[in-house]
């Protein structure tokens, strides 16, 4: 086992490993900057991630690279420089997101679409706010089920799908749950929850192809042609 762990990795795996480390570091920064708000928690989170990454680059990186079988210093430096963009790109994107800046060049539209759509839907902001609002309303039934799931769904599906498919389903489930809890029937409330999640799963499967498209491309304005299935008002008048 030890022999397997200490054996130097093949060359492509070393490069991939080094690149992956840098990307994860950048992704950590991206999440920290995106989630941080003008609050003490956000500032502390950003500082912790920053200090951790600095410590990693100062002391830990050579050990990790040595473990990967990359020992000579020039190779380490070369790999760091080569994969530097992987750290910088998410950080730059996150800072731009926070400053509400977007690239105006048409050639870079794809990046705007890909990253900003994901960043604007990053789970956390809305969920925290909604839960805080619900908690502020008073004790008892302050947190019906489904808020976390809703945030996860918001990350994947378009606003329209959320508004017309998932939000009504969750709202009805929450209303039923609250009724059951007010009637002091926690067992029935749990059953409502399980049944609601099961039916949401069905909606999810039905909407998944559209969701995977909207995750990357929903900021692009599409002009839908009127569907042939919708028919025409002339046809209706003729039918009347």
């Amino acid at each position: 086992m030890m022999a397997v762990l200490t054996r130097p990795l093949p060359r492509p795996a070393r490069a991939i490993g080094a690149g992956l480390m840098n990307f994860l570091l950048g992704a950590g920064w991206m999440l920290a900057i995106t989630w941080s708000r003008p609050s003490a928690t956000g500032a502390i989170l950003t500082c912790v991630v920053g200090v951790a990454s600095l410590l990693f680059w100062a002391f830990g990186v050579e050990h990790v690279f040595a473990r990967l079988g990359i020992t000579s210093s020039w190779r380490v430096i070369a790999l760091q420089l080569a994969s530097c963009l992987l750290v910088c790109l998410p950080v730059v994107l996150a800072v731009m997101f926070r400053l509400k800046v977007t690239w105006q060049h048409p050639a870079l539209d794809a990046l705007n679409i890909l990253f900003f759509n994901a960043l604007t839907r990053t789970a956390g902001h809305t969920m925290r706010r909604e839960r805080a609002e619900a908690k502020a309303r008073g004790p008892g039934l302050h947190c019906p089920p489904g808020f976390k799931l809703r945030e996860a769904l918001r990350f994947v599906f378009s606003r329209r799908t959320m508004e017309y498919v998932f939000d009504p389903a969750l709202a009805d489930m929450q209303a039923e749950w609250v009724e059951a809890m007010l009637a002091d029937r926690p067992g029935h409330a749990t059953w409502i929850c399980l049944r609601g999640y099961w039916h949401l799963m069905k909606h999810l499967l039905a909407q998944l192809p559209a969701g995977s498209w909207s995750l990357t491309c929903s900021p692009v304005k599409t002009h839908r042609r009127p569907s042939r299935r919708n028919g025409s008002s002339e046809a209706l008048q003729a039918a009347d």
Partner: protein
Amino acid sequence: MANKLIEQLLGTGAEGLPSLSPKEAAILQLLISGGEKYGLQIVAESEGVVGRGTVYVTLSRMHDKGFVESRTEEQAEEATGLPRRLYKIAGEGTRVLRAWERAAHLLRAKVLT
């Protein structure tokens, strides 16, 4: 086959008659008779025609077609959870339902004679 027969019965211009699935027809009939309803109310009153797993997708599609209108419920201050969505039939939905009912009536008459 049935569509072609209906088109023949309704005459010229009926080729573009909007499609209406049995579920959509059931929902429209419920909404036309009962006013505004929640998704779960529709499920409960449809007596098994519309299921919990499909009602919101169907309503969303009907909204796209212009058959139904919807609004979110106004919540009280102390209410918890998301506001529920209320659905009511739109003018287009009424016209489509009437057109299909008439088509079905004509078809039935034609078959019986």
